[in-house]
């Protein structure tokens, strides 16, 4: 008998199978991930989670007998008071009895846990910031390395053997290190003389001289090594700065009194998704949070998502604030500027012309992409069907939308619409490219 300890064997044998399964069920899993998003709180958006998918796409069909119909017999344990010949009402739900209980129904749901990474990968699959055009060299961020000559210091793995041998050879030549052939020549000469019979009179002196010479050469050979540490040549690599695209996303949210809790929740969810997407997919994206009532303020993430201020509405105040921040911190030539705005569409009517003017003349020229999200009451009709009672801001912005391909408007009434709309806005080749292929 052998006992083998396998505990230290690498685990994760099933990892490949697990990935294949996820790939196979990708469509269903993605659908489930989206579904699960609407029930998650804003804080929990990016946690690992349990999801449920229908068995349909991942069934493993076999040829087996149907679970219903036909004549069957069942043997069951635990008879209490049945006698032969008794009739029993069929239990509800078909012939659900003994022998079938374990086999399950083909339409059962299939539940399992996705890790956080898997969850986010599926969730953010195929999203991108449109038109990330302006690139700039910055000293701080470097990516990539390239070969850059040779150096005398380095790790053994980078040792350049040809270069090292070359250096060693030139050093040996320069220092006149006696070569092996030289030694051999002397040795044969000595051997020849010693072999002479009888020895001549000068031979002894000559022999001594040759021995001395041989000893000197040997000493010199030992002194000058074949390869010396100074010969070592290592391949050198140096980091190369690459131009990176810096981008800033402005999140503008209306938090005025006219926004109901429901609307705020929708808007916050939208920004939470956006924030998640940006922080995960782009390393060099800054996010600026601005919320406004009749005054706008730049706030931090915490305040933006969880504060409960309230007041009147002046949309232009937010746009003013945005321009102010751009002027102060983000040079238009260096930064790709994105704007996402969420509002219920209420605005002081005398503010609309100013808002439109700001948007059209000041913001759109400097921004790569502007998305406007209008949040509505839950009971309102779904988008696209009938736009009765367009909001002030919506109709004001419509004029802007016509002239600018990088301005997109959507409206949302229900939690379940948030993710599809978000996807539509940021999908590769999605809404952001509307003008390219009309």
């Amino acid at each position: 008998m052998h006992i083998i300890d396998r505990r230290l064997n690498p685990g994760g044998k099933s990892l490949v199978n697990r990935q294949r399964f996820l790939r196979k069920a990708k469509a269903a899993v993605q659908q489930a991930v989206r579904e699960s998003l609407k029930d998650r709180s804003i804080k929990e958006l990016d946690r690992e989670g349990e999801i449920t998918i229908a068995r349909g796409g991942i069934s493993e069909p076999t040829l087996h007998r149907s679970h219903s119909g036909g004549n069957r017999e069942h043997v069951l344990p635990g008879n209490k008071d049945y006698l032969e010949g008794d009739r029993i009402k069929r239990p509800k739900g078909g012939s659900g009895s003994g022998s079938q209980a374990g086999t399950g129904d083909g339409e059962d749901d299939f539940r399992f846990v996705l890790s956080r990474e898997e969850f986010l990968d599926l969730f953010l699959d195929d999203l991108e910031l449109p038109d990330l055009a302006k690139r700039k060299l910055t000293g701080a961020h470097t990516e990539g390395i390239r070969r850059a000559g040779y150096t005398t210091l380095g790790s053994p793995s980078n040792l350049s053997v040809p270069r090292t041998m070359q250096k060693a050879m030139s050093r040996r030549l320069a220092l006149r290190r006696p070569s092996r052939t030289e030694l051999e020549r002397l040795e044969t000469e000595i051997a020849e003389i010693e072999a002479r019979q009888p020895q001549g009179s000068e031979d002894a002196a000559l022999l001594e001289q040759l021995h001395e010479e041989l000893a000197r050469l040997r000493r010199r050979r030992a002194l000058i090594s074949y390869i010396d540490p100074v010969d070592m040549q290592f391949r050198r690599f140096e980091p190369v700065p690459k131009p990176i695209a810096q981008a800033v996303m402005f999140c503008l949210m209306d938090v005025s009194g006219s926004m109901s809790e429901h609307m705020k929740d929708l808007a916050k969810r939208f920004f939470a998704l956006l924030h998640l997407f940006l922080t995960r997919s782009y390393r060099y994206v800054e996010v600026v949070f601005i919320h406004h009532t009749d005054r706008a303020a730049e706030v931090d993430e915490e305040t933006f998502f969880y504060s409960t201020v309230s007041g009147g509405t002046l949309v232009s105040s937010a746009l003013d604030k945005l321009l102010e921040v751009v002027a102060a911190r983000y040079r238009v030539d260096d930064w790709n500027i994105y704007v996402a705005q969420a509002s219920d569409g209420d605005n002081m009517s005398n503010d609309n012309p100013k808002t439109v003017a700001l948007m059209r003349d000041a913001i759109l020229p400097i921004a790569q992409y502007v998305a406007y999200l209008e949040v509505g009451r839950e009971d309102a009709p779904s988008p696209g069907i009938a736009m009765q009672g367009e909001s002030d801001l919506w109709s004001a912005y419509e004029s802007v939308e016509h002239g600018h391909r990088h301005f997109v408007m959507r409206n949302v009434h229900h939690r379940r619409e948030i993710y599809p709309v978000f996807r539509e806005l940021f999908q590769r080749g999605g809404a952001a490219k509307k003008a390219d292929n009309p």
């Binding site: 083998i4 040829l63 008879n79 209490k80």
Partner: protein, 512 residues
């Protein structure tokens, strides 16, 4: 039994490799020395719970090819395990030579003792001796074969693309249950045996030779019908669909045939296990129960650990009644162990009833020899038909329901009384007969003169048709493998009338 008291092998729940060795040696003297079990050499491998989860999802084999369905199993096992809805098995045992036993590091010393007795001796003996296993599995070669299969399939994935291999495996898995030979093949005889048989026959012919026969007029033999000749040439009818596809499907590439063969051989390897669930577990439970009791009697395990064993033993052997709410069919452990215990009782202390029912073993004594004989020569269906005693039917209060199509009520057909014993026993045996539980599907013909449609028949027993939804998918993939149309007729097995017909055309071959 010798009545001596010795030091317990261990106290507490900790164990180390040294202790495992001592436990194993002690059990070996009991199991092999006293009970006379005949086992493959054992190899015990200690693994972590994570690794156990991994092993679970590849049907317990240490090596398996990659396929998403194993991943699916993995994620659902993982969820159940993480939520604590399901514990992991304490052990896994592989029918190979040497017999590989996985034991988990989380087990206590008592549990290790239990699983070694259960798997390394109980299951191991059963694998080595039962006739179904001897007939169908090659314990020596299975691990090498799995290694080959894994490498071959990985190689194919590299060469022909993961998607192509995956869809082929999907199709093959769907037909896995139709990929086993249910009857042993006639083995080709060697020339010597052939010559001996021929000589024997000649001698017989000579001994009965009578010249008179020569004068009889010979009837002109009817030429076999063309269809019969065709069927014979194709070796039809054939119930092993995967085998038929491997040998005869016209449009498969060689690598595709090889993969079908791999899936088929693996299905064949597991076929005995599906036929002997009750007996296999029953034998293993009986063996571990005997061993643990013997260890306890000799003071080799403490009272505490014997109680720990009993608790786990009774958990495993729990058989809920049909109305308890936990009922999920018969527990093969409980059923098997119950009958094994009962056989031992019949051998040693039979009642008058037992003598009537089991004349050949009642009162014979030597229960172990009787059991070993049974373990070697039965499978679940024959085992239940033969050895489910009236005593046990009363004990479990078994009853039989009859559920006829179109009737609003279910009838109680038999209960645990004199009139019902045999009917209950037969019905239960039928439930464990996979030959009856699985549909009887055969390839009957190929329309070679026409459009090469592959024709199959399902002989419908008791009016139970195939599950429509699954059949649609499986037959579609069968048509894709065959390359031409497929037609499956469902025929009533008694009247031969057609109940249903499925027809499928192959989907256009995708260029992946």
């Amino acid at each position: 039994m010798t009545d001596y008291v010795s030091m317990p092998l261990y106290e507490g729940s900790d164990w180390d490799f040294d202790l495992i060795q001592r436990i194993y040696d002690t059990i070996e003297t009991i199991a092999v020395g006293e009970m006379g079990l005949n086992i493959y050499p054992n190899q015990i491998e200690v693994i972590s719970s994570e690794q156990m989860l991994d092993a679970y999802s590849s049907t317990g084999m240490p090596l398996f090819y990659k396929h998403w369905s194993f991943g699916k199993q993995f994620v659902s096992n993982e969820l159940l395990y993480r939520k604590g809805l399901r514990g992991l098995a304490y052990e896994l045992v592989i029918n190979s030579d040497p017999c590989i036993n996985y034991i988990m590091q989380e087990n206590s010393a008592t549990m290790q003792t239990l699983v070694i007795a259960h798997a390394a001796f109980g299951h191991n003996h059963f694998f080595k001796n039962n006739y179904v296993f001897r007939q169908w599995t090659d314990a020596e070669g299975i691990l090498d074969y799995m290694d080959f299969a894994k490498r071959y399939i990985a190689n194919c994935e590299e060469r022909y693309g993961q998607l192509a291999v995956e869809s082929l495996l999907d199709a093959a898995h769907a037909l896995m249950h139709q990929g086993v030979h249910r009857h042993p093949r006639i083995r080709a005889r060697d020339l010597k045996a052939e010559a001996a048989r021929e000589a024997e026959r000649q001698a017989y012919r000579d001994s009965i030779y009578d010249d008179l026969w020569r004068t009889l007029p010979t009837a002109t033999k009817a030429a076999p019908a063309q269809a019969d000749a065709r069927r014979q040439a194709l070796h039809l009818p054939q119930e092993n669909i995967l085998y038929f596809l491997e040998k005869s499907a016209p449009r498969l590439e060689p690598w595709q045939r090889e993969i079908l063969r791999i899936v088929r051989l693996i299905a064949q390897y597991f076929y005995p296990q599906r036929q002997t669930k009750v007996m296999n577990e029953g034998a293993a439970c009986y063996v571990h129960y005997r061993i643990m009791t013997a260890l306890h009697e000799r003071g080799l395990i403490t009272e505490g650990s014997f109680l720990e064993f009993l608790q786990s033993h009774t958990n495993v052997l729990n058989q809920p009644t049909f109305d308890s709410g936990h009922y999920g069919g018969f527990n093969p452990y409980a059923l098997g162990f119950g009958i094994m215990q009962d056989i031992a009782r019949i051998c040693d202390t039979p009642t008058e009833e037992d003598r009537q029912w089991f004349g050949d073993i009642a009162g014979r004594g030597q229960a172990m020899d009787v059991l070993k004989d049974i373990w070697a020569n039965y499978r679940d269906e024959s085992f239940l038909t033969q050895f489910l005693s009236p005593h046990l039917i009363r004990h479990w209060r078994l009853f039989k329901l009859e559920d006829r199509a179109g009737q609003p009520e279910v009838g109680v057909d038999a209960i645990h009384n004199e009139r019902g014993y045999r009917r209950i026993r037969q019905a239960l045996a039928r439930e464990f007969d996979i030959g009856r539980q699985e549909p009887d599907i055969q390839i009957v013909d190929v329309d070679l003169a026409g459009d090469r449609t592959l024709m199959l028949e399902h002989r419908v027993a008791n009016g139970i048709l195939l599950d429509e939804e699954d059949a649609t998918q499986v037959l579609q993939s069968l048509a894709d493998l065959w390359g031409y149309g497929v037609c499956l007729e469902e025929l009533d097995s008694e009247t031969g009338s057609q109940l249903k017909q499925h027809r499928f055309q192959p989907q256009t071959v995708r260029q992946d």
